[in-house]
Structures are given as C-alpha cells and as structure tokens.
Subunit: 387 residues, 4 copies
Amino acid sequence: MDFALSPELIALRDRTRQFIVEKIIPLEGDPRETPHGPTDVFRQELIGLAKTAGLLTPHASKRYGGLGLSHVEKAVVFEEAGYSRLGPTAMNIHAPDEGNIHLMEQVATPEQQLRWLVPQIEGKLRSCFAMTEPAPGAGSDPSMMLTTAVRDGADYLINGLKWFITGADGADYVIIMARTEDGQATMFLSDMDAPGIAIERNMDSLDQCFVGGHSVLRLTNVRVPQDCILGELGKGFRYAQVRLAPARLTHCMRWLGQARRAHDIALAYAQKRQAFGQRLGDHEGIGFMLADNDMDLQTSRLHIFQTAWLLDQGERCNYESSRAKVICSEAEWRVVDRCVQIMGGQGVTGETAIMRIFTDMRGFRIYDGPSEVHRWSMARKLLDQKV
Amino acid sequence: MDFALSPELIALRDRTRQFIVEKIIPLEGDPRETPHGPTDVFRQELIGLAKTAGLLTPHASKRYGGLGLSHVEKAVVFEEAGYSRLGPTAMNIHAPDEGNIHLMEQVATPEQQLRWLVPQIEGKLRSCFAMTEPAPGAGSDPSMMLTTAVRDGADYLINGLKWFITGADGADYVIIMARTEDGQATMFLSDMDAPGIAIERNMDSLDQCFVGGHSVLRLTNVRVPQDCILGELGKGFRYAQVRLAPARLTHCMRWLGQARRAHDIALAYAQKRQAFGQRLGDHEGIGFMLADNDMDLQTSRLHIFQTAWLLDQGERCNYESSRAKVICSEAEWRVVDRCVQIMGGQGVTGETAIMRIFTDMRGFRIYDGPSEVHRWSMARKLLDQKV
Amino acid sequence: MDFALSPELIALRDRTRQFIVEKIIPLEGDPRETPHGPTDVFRQELIGLAKTAGLLTPHASKRYGGLGLSHVEKAVVFEEAGYSRLGPTAMNIHAPDEGNIHLMEQVATPEQQLRWLVPQIEGKLRSCFAMTEPAPGAGSDPSMMLTTAVRDGADYLINGLKWFITGADGADYVIIMARTEDGQATMFLSDMDAPGIAIERNMDSLDQCFVGGHSVLRLTNVRVPQDCILGELGKGFRYAQVRLAPARLTHCMRWLGQARRAHDIALAYAQKRQAFGQRLGDHEGIGFMLADNDMDLQTSRLHIFQTAWLLDQGERCNYESSRAKVICSEAEWRVVDRCVQIMGGQGVTGETAIMRIFTDMRGFRIYDGPSEVHRWSMARKLLDQKV
Amino acid sequence: MDFALSPELIALRDRTRQFIVEKIIPLEGDPRETPHGPTDVFRQELIGLAKTAGLLTPHASKRYGGLGLSHVEKAVVFEEAGYSRLGPTAMNIHAPDEGNIHLMEQVATPEQQLRWLVPQIEGKLRSCFAMTEPAPGAGSDPSMMLTTAVRDGADYLINGLKWFITGADGADYVIIMARTEDGQATMFLSDMDAPGIAIERNMDSLDQCFVGGHSVLRLTNVRVPQDCILGELGKGFRYAQVRLAPARLTHCMRWLGQARRAHDIALAYAQKRQAFGQRLGDHEGIGFMLADNDMDLQTSRLHIFQTAWLLDQGERCNYESSRAKVICSEAEWRVVDRCVQIMGGQGVTGETAIMRIFTDMRGFRIYDGPSEVHRWSMARKLLDQKV
C-alpha cells in the first residue's frame, strides 16, 4: 500500500498545472468558444501551446509521440488538464478522441493506425464515435441498435441514424457501430467526407465544451471496404467495453479538475466576501459546504486512483469503472452545485467560471451510461456473488 | 379544514390551462426568445394574447383592471401560467413586475399609481427593482447597502452601483433602494430614462426567461424629487418585507408550474421509451423518480396553499414564506434534476423544454434569499420560541 | 380552501394536549414498560385515565361510545396523543386495535360487533391482525400468502404460520387472513384462546411501544364457524385495503406526535446548552437542523391533513395514503435522526425520550408497506395516467 | 501508488477472518451479552480465544507482546475483527482500551507502562478514559472542562463529574483529564479502586457492544501522586489529539467490519427472498441499495487506507482523520440503514445481527466528535488555505 507519487510524476503534475494556469486559463472566454465548443482554428492554437509545452496527447504511446502515461499517471495529469475547460482540448485528451486513440492503439491495424491514429496523436485529425441512436434505437441499451451493415461485394454498406455524436461536426474520421446480417455488432472506420455521411443538424446542448458539439448523423449507403473494419467482425460490443472502462475513468479525471476549479473559486470567495458580520466562510452553513466539497473531491480522487491502478495491473475493471463513474459523476456534481450556491447570485452568471462548469458537467451523470444503468449493472454482479 | 377549490376558481384554472397550452406553448422557441429573455416586441405580442383571453395581470385589483385574485387564487392561476416559461410574461405576472405591482398597490400615492402603476397593469410599462449591490455592498445581507440618497434642496441625489437588476434593460421605471444620511433605507421611484441612470452591462446569466435579463446599473447623481419617494422615508426595509413575503410565494407558484411541465414531459417519455426489455418507467429506478417527483410537486403545492391562505387571513407570514420558499425551491429543483436524468441524453439538450427549465430554475434556490439565509432566519425564530 | 380548525376541534386538541402532558408523560419510564410494550395491567391503568378524561377510543362511532371523529379530526387528536409513546395506548388508538376497530365498524355483522367490537371500544378487549408470514410466505407481497382455510362441514379449518403479529401476546381476538380452496383470500375472526392458536415466540424487536410486542403465531387446524367470517368470502384483500389506507394515515399522525416531541426536546436543549462560545442552536450547523425539522414536521402535517380531508369526502385514497405514508415515515424519521445528532452523546442514551423514539420509529418506514413498495405502487399509477 | 497488500498481510487478514467466522460469530447472542456489553467473564473467554489464535492485542508493539501492526495493517485487521460485534473485545482492540494502549505506549513512563500497560496488553486489565462532562462542562467542546486537579503537597486532588465514560464499570485503571490551577489540562492515571472514584450510575445507551457500557463517574478528592501524571503537566489536550486522530480511524475500521457484515446479510437475503415475482434483489429499488452499499463501503475503506498510510508516514493527520471520520461514520451508517430497509420487517428485529449493528452504530456519528464539529474544524482549515 503506497499513496506516494513518484518525483517524476509530481514534476509532470506541476508542469501541467503551471501550463494550465499560465497558458490556458487566460484564453477562457475567447470569442472562439462557441455554443458547440471551441472552433477548429482555436483548437489548433490550443494544441500548438500544448505541443510547445511538451504536453500534447500524453496518454499516447511513446512510439507514437505521446508520453506513454499509465492509468495512474493519467489520473494525475488529466485532473490538472481538466482544471480549465479548455485544457483537455489543448492537450488532445478530450472526449471522444482520447478514448478513440486508446481504442485505435489496442485494436487497429498498422495501416489503419498510420492513416488515422498517427496524425490524430499529432493533433492534426479529429474523430468521432457513432454508437447512440434515437428511439427506438440504441440509447442506454446498446442491444437495441438499428444501424445495419450489409455485405455488398467486398465492402459493407452502412445505413442508419445516429445522434449525440460528439465532435462529429469537423471530425476527420468516424468509428461506426453497426449490426451485420448475423445480428452481431461490428465497428467500422470511415473518413467523415465519405459519400453517404451527412450531419443532419447540430444539437442544442447544455454543455459547450466539446469541440464540434453533438450532432445527428445520417448514414446512407456508406460504403466501407473490409480493411476498414476495426478489429474483428462481430466484436463491436466487446471493443466498446475495451474503450468504455478507461474512457469512463478519464471522464472522472477531467471533471475532477473542473470540480476542483469550482471549489477553489468558491473557497476564495468565501474567504473574502463579508455577510452578516463575518466572512461568508465563517458561517457554518457555508463552511460545512466547503468541507463537504473537499470530502467529495477526495472521494472521487481515491476511487479514480484505485481503479486506475487496477487497470494498470491488467484488470478489466468493468465493475470498478462503473462504480468510480457513479461516485465521481455524482460527487463532482454535488461540489459544483454547492459552489453555485456559495457564490450566491454570481453562481448563476458568467461572472466566474462556475456557471459554465455547472452547465458543462450535468451531462456527466448521463453519458457513458447514466447512474441508473451503472447501479443496475453493479447490482447484478453483487447478486451473483457468493456471500 | 377544506381543500376544495370553488367552482369559479376551477373554471379560471381550466381557462388558464387551456390558454397556456393552446396559445403560449406553441410560441416557445420563437426566435424572439433571446439569452436575456423575450424581446419587448415579443412580450407585447404575448400580452396581447393574454388580454384577449381576459387573463392579463390577474393579481391586480379589479379597480385597476385586474381580477383581484386572492393569494390562494394566485396559487392556482400562477402555477398554470408557469407551465410555460412564457406564461408569466404573457399574463404580466413575471418577476419583478408582479411584486412591484403588489408593492405599488400597497404603498404608492394615487399620483404615483396613476403615473406608473395603471399603465403597468395594462402591460404598457415595465419596471425593475434596484436593491442588490456588488461586494462590498448589499448581497444576501441588505444591511450592507452602500447606495446613498443625499438631500439636495427639495430633491434627493442618488449614487451607487446595483447589479442583478432583473428586467432593467427596457424597463420604464425603477424602484431604487438607497440609504439616506441618517443611515435608514428608503425606496425611490424614477423613470429609467432619468439623467444619471445607466446600464453598464447586461450580465450573462444561467436563466433566460426574464424579460430584459439582469443588468448592472450605475446611478450617478440621479435626481429624485420628494414626491417620488415610495411610501415613507426610512421604511425601505419594511416595504421590502411587504414586497418579499408574497413575492417569494409567487415565485414558488410559477416555478411549480415549470416543475410540473418537466415532470409531464419526463413521464410521457417514461411511458413510451423502451430500454432493456420494458418501458423506461417500468424500471423501478425510473418509476421511483416519478413517484418522488409527484411527492415533491404536491409538497410544494401544499406549502404554497397554506402560506397563501395565511396571507389571505392577513398574516405577515415572514416565517411561513421563508419555509415555503426553501421547500419549494429545493423540491421543485429536485423534480427538474430528476427529469433531466430520466430523459437521458435528451435531458441535456434542447430536444425538449426540460433543458431550459433546468437552466432557468437553478437561480430560484438563490434569489429572494438563498436557502441558507432562510434556514438561518427560521432557526432564530425557532430558538426564540418558548418550548 | 380553508386551513382553519373549528373552535370545537381546537378545544379538543388542547384538552388532549393537556391530558398527555399532565397525566401520561409523567408515567413514561414506569417499570411496567417492557421490551414488548406496556403490560396489560399498566395498559388498563392508562385506559382508565383516558376514560376519566373523556378521551377513550375517540375515533369510534358515537353510538359505540367514541367521539365519532372524522379523519381530519383524528389528524389533530392523534398527533397530540402521539406526543407521548404511551398516549395511543392510553386513548385506545394504538396499532393494530385502531385499524381493527375501523374495519370492524365497516364490515362486521351486528353479532360480531357486539361480541368483539363493543368491549374493544370500551378498552376491555385487545385484538391482533394476522396477515404477514415468514418466507416463502406473504411479506410485502400479500399475494404470496400460504395460510389456508379449508371447508370442513359448516366450519373452516385454518392452518399456517404468521409472524410480526403485533399485539398477539395478550390479545383477546384475532383477524386471520387465509386463502380458501379457490385461492381467494378471506378474513376470519377467532378468539385467541381457540384451540390450535399458539404463540410460538415473541420476537425481539427494535420498537418497544406496542402492547404485546410482535409474535410468531402458529395456526393448527383452527376451527372457525361460518358466522365468524369477517365480511364476505374472498374479499380479504379488498378489506385489507379498507383497513390499510386509513390505518397508514393514523400511523403518520401518531408518529408525527413523536417526532414533534423529539424536536421539542432537541430545541429546548439547543436553546440552553453552550458550546464553542455560544448556545448550541446559535451554531448554523444546529440551527439549520432545527429549521429542517420544522419543515419536515409541517410537510408531514399538510399531507396528513389533505389525505384525511379526502377520506372525509369519501375518496378511497389508495394513492394519496401511499404518498402520505412515504413522506411522513421518511420526514419524521429525518427529524428524529437529527434530534439524536443535536443531543450529542445524550441522543444515544436514555437521558431523554429521544432514544426510545428513535428505536420505536425506525420500523415505520417498513410496516404497512415499505417505502419501496409504495413508491412502486405510486409509479404504476402515474404510468397509467394520460399525460 | 500501490494498492496491493503484502502476502503477509493477506495471510493475516485471512487468518483473522477465519477466526472471527469460526470462533467468534458462533458466540454472538450468548446470554453473557448484556445491555452494557459482554460481562468480564465472557470477555476473558473471548480473549482466551484470540490469544490461542495469536491475534490478541495485535496493534501493541512486539516488545510488549503485540504484532506491532502499522496503521495500514490495522486497517485490514480491524475491519476483519469488526465483522463480529464481539471481535474487537476478543482481540483486545475495542474502545477505549485500543486508544489508551496507543497513548500509553507513546507517553507513559516505563514504570507506568509496567504497572498498567503490560497487563492491559495481555488482556488482564481494562481501562477507561474520563474526559467528557455533563452540562455546563466539557461535551463536544473540551475547553469547557470543569474537573479540577489541585496541588496538595506532592500530590494532586481531583474533583469533578464525568459522564459517558465508556468501560468504566469494571475497569482497572482510568486516565482522567483535569484542569490544574493554571487552567491547563493534564492527564492523570489512577487505579479505579482508588478512594474518591465512584460510579454513580450506568447510563442506558443505544449501543450494547462496549464492555462495561457507559457510566457517570464522580471524582471526589481523588489523590494522585506526581508520578501518576501521564506525560507532562499541561499537555492534556495535546495528548488527547495524539490519542484521537488514530483512535478515530480505528473506529472507522471496526465499524466498517460491522457495516460489511450487515451488507452481507442483506445481500444474502436479497439473493433468496422472492417478492412480486422475482428475487428481492432483482428489483431495482433493492438492487440500487446494494450498489450504494458497495460504494459506501469502498469509499470508507479508501479513506481509511489513505489516512492510515499518512499516519504511517509520520503525519499527524488531524485534518485527514476528521475527514475520514465524517465520511466513514456517515457512509457506514447509510449502509446499515439500507440493510434494515432491505430486510423489511426482519430488519427491525433480532432475527439477524443487523438490528444490533443498527443500534450499536448510531453513536459513531457522535462520539469522538460529532460530524458537525469535524466539518467545522475542516472548514476552518480550508479557509486558512491560500487558494
């Protein structure tokens, strides 16, 4: 049992912290932040800053130009990156690219990696992941997937409607989940400018931090050759799990940074603002909220660390990543909600970064599986235990 | 003890419900809804609809053209109005005008009423209420007010900085709280185009439902003649209480309508959407949320009714209105948060009205006194009780 | 809409309050309070006090010697009775007799009423209600009932095992739920000293306030003649509903009295005890708990009143009584848990009445249907609504 | 960062687990369990079992016959011991002896250790810690201490009234906190049979797991020679901190064992009991509670581990032990409360161990500092941070 971070990791953490505070936070509020995330031009500028700082795509393997971070190392670095809503974009560790990079490293062929992964790690390409569908298709329940991939000669023809496709607008390539004729799910790779892929509309969303926002994607006879199958036929759901367990955890890490940022702003306010004869924070009603914040932040961090460590040991962590996801998404949300309350009127305005953290974060309790789906999945595993 | 509504009130309720559903909800999403609320042109169109329906400014006295609703009657009608975010604007019962109309009826001189109140009840004028100030001025603690009113001949010269002034942008007149030389607080009336009144900026806010949004107001040597004092000198805080107890309660009513709207949308979705082999609502995890929603809605309604009834009996209800405000603002918020969760991904998008209810309502736990201030005020009264 | 109590009801309330404070509370801690409730001798002494005060069995019809209280009147009087854990026993309104009296008035034949109900209303007899069974029998799910009633000549022979039979030890008669050969449930009446009825053991329980505690009841060829069927054959579950909706609500009323008692003790303590330089209650952390207590108490009261009023209008209130039961059992529990916390070390000792309220009340979230069953029942009804 | 336990620790954990399950749990319900804990004879029998198993007083230094466990090792072993309410008594790691042993090792003179500590570690002596006082003395706020120690020749004469003195009845020696003439607090050691020490009464308490229960202790001219001062004059509060930070944490560990026990019982029940057509646990309403239990258990465990590790690094951990205490006492309580609910009627009876865990554990949110005092202490430290 050892909770110490190595000196190298501490140095990397501090370097990331400094980068975020000095280079990235000053850019918050730049007019190139749109309701559908930073523009691609702005993104390129941010990526340039991270590259200069040696902090671009740090989770990618060293052979592809990353820092080859372990899961525990990601826990430390991604929390720091998340301290600014622009940090993950700058460091190329935002969703869905972060998870796609991970998946492509694990599953893609060398040719596929050369074509898509390598430039993506360099920040030159963006990707999206097309799984969820509107009713009556696959939402929380992936087994309801309606998108089909039908064999046509040496190729597959894909048809379907996807929505909530994060980052689709402006993406260079897409990973599509579709059902082949035997009913199995398979992942396909395609350039986004392939014939038959159309963005029907961009969805108006509560969060504004994802580059490209979220789109409705119409797939009409999209032709995918066999060498663009990602991994093996019929293993789509298995790969989705490969992608999801760590991807859930990196969400926890980045949002922990956002929650800590909100807490720091609220704490500084509670230290200074006077009300009813004393500092705001000297009121127990406020002081208790600050203590609760710290408890929730540290609880999140400990679950992230433990699950990351298990992943580093080679465990699949389906259970633990569900657990960490529920705990972090709910605890971090409580932190941000309390911060809004501590700030009073300012909490519901753009006077500080908290309002945007509030709107950006609410979806975290829903995406990558709502709390209810994870609780149910955990319950079934507990019920299978021998007591 | 009688929980029955009179046949007349039921008829009025049903008429209001029909008006909101048929005339107002179809206008939601009109491009004239801006981040700072409906435009004034749009507002005039909405008001015209309510006037035609005989539902304009129903809380005003009959002699001024209102329906002279009692507090209990308001409870019923305002909940219905609140079912659409545009309903209160249409019926001229939105904040801050609703509370200002109430205050002006109670305190203003006949001349002041003729000049400002009568056209306001007709929907021709809008008003704002300028009390809160940035640090180190009056936020939750009104005793910290820094704005001054200094005698200058027969007039007063007012100087200060106000913020979170709802509806200021486009308002015709303003009620200003300021401190006279003896340290007492007084309310002053002024046209908004008077020299020295300047809107420094409109604040970027989480809510978007208030006409005019929220502004920062600079007051520089604003000259107010004596006959524009509202009520008596030095009674500003007393009148603020006159205004606040019922104003808090009408917030509870309108937001109850919004919470019920969110619940209805989520319930309809839970009745139809399939997941994991059954209707969403057939999952206990979702079904329990629906039950909790109903409990929170009915709890809010009962506290509103009881406090409204007490106000109708002539009680001041400072305690009860604090209690109702805390209970409703927190219970109605829980409802909306659950609805977001039930909707899944759609809950955090503009696909339904819920996302806007979510962003519009969060401030309700803060304005007109955050929960913490009300809890503390309640505690002090309980501690003074003889047990 | 009218929240006023009639002068007669206020007088009755005050008379009950005085009776409880002056005559009953001084008897709390009497050594005849056992782990399985007051002894029968003690019970008789308590009943004598209520008879003298004219407050015995007030919910029974006037023609049987009660006060013929409406449900709303019961709400007021039972809360006062519940202010002492001995009050309901003294006034003969404790569970299960209170509900059994109600059921017997509704359903029993004149002969049955003469034999059992009349002396019960006079406090001379006690009864119990034998429905729940150990696994795999009927617990929360009554449809799983295993106890059988088989026709034998003109009689029925009943066999089965019941548990959690409150008040069985020392009861004079029992209402037995059993399944006849057609699978339908029927209620049967029997003296407790009938051959074949045996108390296997008394259960060790967290609550200690019920006369006779809770027993395991073995039924072995209990012979019941036809004229001891309660109501009609096959209507057992229907009558159980007749009994349950109001019985749930009277639980809410009595426990509200207990919760208010705990709050009053904690409030008095917070007014006097000093800590960290001020009165305990002057700490916001404690003051907020007092405010939350008051909110929970009043919320419970309002739901009780509304549901009682609906019952008085002739409504069946299955939904509303479920709702009130969940709300009250959870809100009143929160009150008591907070009171334990406010009292500090004393809260977990017998220094005040709070510890016993804490142990007596926990079961209220479970019996007469756990919160989960009620939430689910509510959810199904909501899902059947046309939105 | 390393979450692995050493093979030696895993072996010790498994050995302890086996000991508790095979030797101790069968003794639960022994009639020598009284409302004030196991009798001393029963305690000796339990201690004999632990000695035979090589598990007696494992936290004591090896030179005194213990296993010299580090804090992290204690975290593992104490959780296992706590799986039975009799486990800590058997292994001599119950409160207050466990904390007193720790304090005596740190602060006592060799003579004091020989006289009291060595036989205590062997399980032959029991001790108590006399700090808290009834109003207006020291409760949560130790600065209000009224007990005095006045110099009389070479000795001190101690006078005062203490209450909630756990284990006093039957203890062999006592550590008394008293105020000397200069107002400073000092710790004194005395045999319990010294003249002037009288147990006024044993308090009726919710918990029944502590040997000797909780007593009111009257100190009347208790004569203590100088060589029975524990540590240095005037350092009483400092030593109390030395004792408290780890003592809080060992509470967290033992109660974690109790909470896990409750969860295991409830889980086994949810796996078997049928209701409404499926296993209890297959209902989401129950399954979610099981998942929440697991989250709360693991959260508690992680905070215990981290704080224990910090203590092992030589940190004082005042902040972290407060945090862990609040988190564990509240999370473990939620687990037990849910287990009561899952069990239905059985949850509030002695049919399983859960009822006793429920009554034994409630005080944990209060003793060693109620949650409110710890939250406030944390808040002040956060407010002193430079953000």
